[in-house]
Amino acid sequence: MPVKVIKPGLLTTIQDLGRPGYFHLGIPIGGAMDRVSLRTANLLVGNDEGAAGLEAVFLGPELEFTEDATIAVTGADLPILIDDVEQPGWTALKIKAGQRLGFGYLKSGARAYIAISGGVDTPPMLGSRSTYAIGALGGVDGRAIAAGDSLPIGAGAGGTEGATVAPDLRRATGSPVELRVLPGLYWHRITETAQRGFFDDEWKVAPEADRMGYRFRGGKALEFVEREQPFGAGSDPSNIVDGCYPYGSIQVPGGTEPIVLHRDAVSGGGYFMIGTVISADMDLIGQLQPHMPVRFVEVDMETALKARADRAALMNRIRGALDR
């Protein structure tokens, strides 16, 4: 029971929870940028949490259904239209054969997640349907959806129409954002003044923000502790002899504009890094719009681990509320 793509939106990709286990071959985990939103959308329509759905950035697609289905849209606040009638988000909605799902203009957040009962059933590659365009993996022939595509949908019982996630369990998108950071990696290579400045300054999301990484600008350039450049690292003090790039790590090419690597990151390279956004805050980055003000906040490991446990507890409360 295919879903026809009438308009693809700006950049709409098929995503599930990604393909762990291949980073050593240069293939990142990928998958939904905002995992809690994808999991929740799937729960609402009666799917496994890790079923593949659509991740729409800024501008929603227009889709025509050829059979009745249950759908749910979570994440960014992107007005949901079924045959031009506005519908609630974070709610299981029935859509009938012949009806069209469309979207209004984005109100807040950046990425909406569309789950369809049965899940998008394109062929999994290396254990995942997630689109990784650079490696031509997953998605529709390794790419984002395009007008004229026919998306195969699996068989699914569908959720309970009208089931909804209470507002206090929805993750807010659009408020001024603090990203919690564990300093580390090559943090010792910048001066104490620069360390304080990084956390004191207000940064703004740059337009260069995508699934590989989010760039920020507006804060002061970093001052480096003097050192002798190792052979092979060039003359720029922000270059290192090629090292590992963890997810969430903050690299600062030229010492000027921090880039937080996200789920489609490369695994290594020659830019130095000053720390890592904690894993519990990675979903939040996927909902940041360009020009949005962001502050980086220093935390310790105990706080980071507690935040991660809190995020797992939130997911459990959502499961409980939806009786799953």
Partner: protein, 243 residues
């Protein structure tokens, strides 16, 4: 103030990963230690380890922070760091056919000029070396190969290409590489191999692993075409040397 602690050292990188760094150079002895630790971790993984990523001079270890935490994994790894030098099991030696001719080697003459050699010498040096895969990355299955003879050391091209053909065999700085798929790239292209390095349809999608070794075997254009046909038909097997 250089490094705050001697090597090997742990670099804190958040609640879901840590890095063990062995030194500060692209160097076979350091890479061998990375591989040796990776092999030990594969044989004795700590609880909650998700995956490991060997790179030139460091090993990245991803963990599940709901199961374990970086300090616990660090303590486990610290117990595995003894006597790493020389302990990595050597990888197989693959014989990779390369055609170093004509359109398949667009930068060969430039490389010869820039290094003060001849095209014949460049081919002899490149195919005479035994390379080791220091890391796979940048593109799925893209091998960074250490072991390039010093004579061939060149900076990257000042004008990167927007489209490097799949199979391109390239050099830059102290490394060689093979482009598994079409991509932009700034390395010097000195040949092309018809073999398929990466196939997402295979259970093990990358032909090579970090630590494997590569010897390039020059083939003429006619042999290149014959191998390309065999690869397309699915009946070409890349030879391994018996070590």
């Amino acid at each position: 103030m250089a490094s705050p602690v001697p090597y090997p050292r742990f670099l804190p990188c958040g609640d879901a990963a840590l890095i063990v760094e062995f030194g500060n150079a692209v160097d076979k002895a350091l890479n061998d230690k990375v591989l040796a630790l990776d092999q030990r971790l594969a044989a004795a993984p700590p609880d909650g380890m998700v995956e490991t990523v060997p790179t030139f001079r460091s090993l990245m270890v991803h963990l599940d922070p709901l199961v374990t935490d970086p300090a616990t994994v660090e303590a486990h790894i610290a117990g595995l760091l003894g006597d790493l030098a020389g302990s990595a099991a050597p990888g197989p030696i693959w014989r990779v056919p390369v055609c170093y001719e004509g359109d398949l080697a667009p930068d060969l003459e430039d490389v010869a000029r820039a290094t003060g050699t001849s095209a014949t010498e460049v081919v002899a040096l490149h195919s005479g070396a035994l390379f080791q895969i220091y890391m796979l990355g940048f593109l799925p299955g893209f091998p960074y190969l250490g072991g390039l003879p010093d004579t061939l050391y060149l900076p990257r091209r000042t004008n990167p290409r927007t489209r490097v053909p799949a199979g391109s065999v390239a050099i830059a700085q102290s490394l060689s590489a093979i482009y598994p798929v079409v991509s932009p790239g700034g390395w010097h292209l000195i040949g092309n191999t018809p073999i398929r390095l990466f196939d997402s349809g295979r259970d093990d999608p990358a032909l090579f692993a970090s630590g494997d070794r590569i010897r390039f075997v020059p083939v003429e254009a006619a042999e290149f075409a014959r191998i390309a046909d065999a690869v397309a038909g699915g009946d070409f097997v890349v030879e391994k040397e018996t070590v």
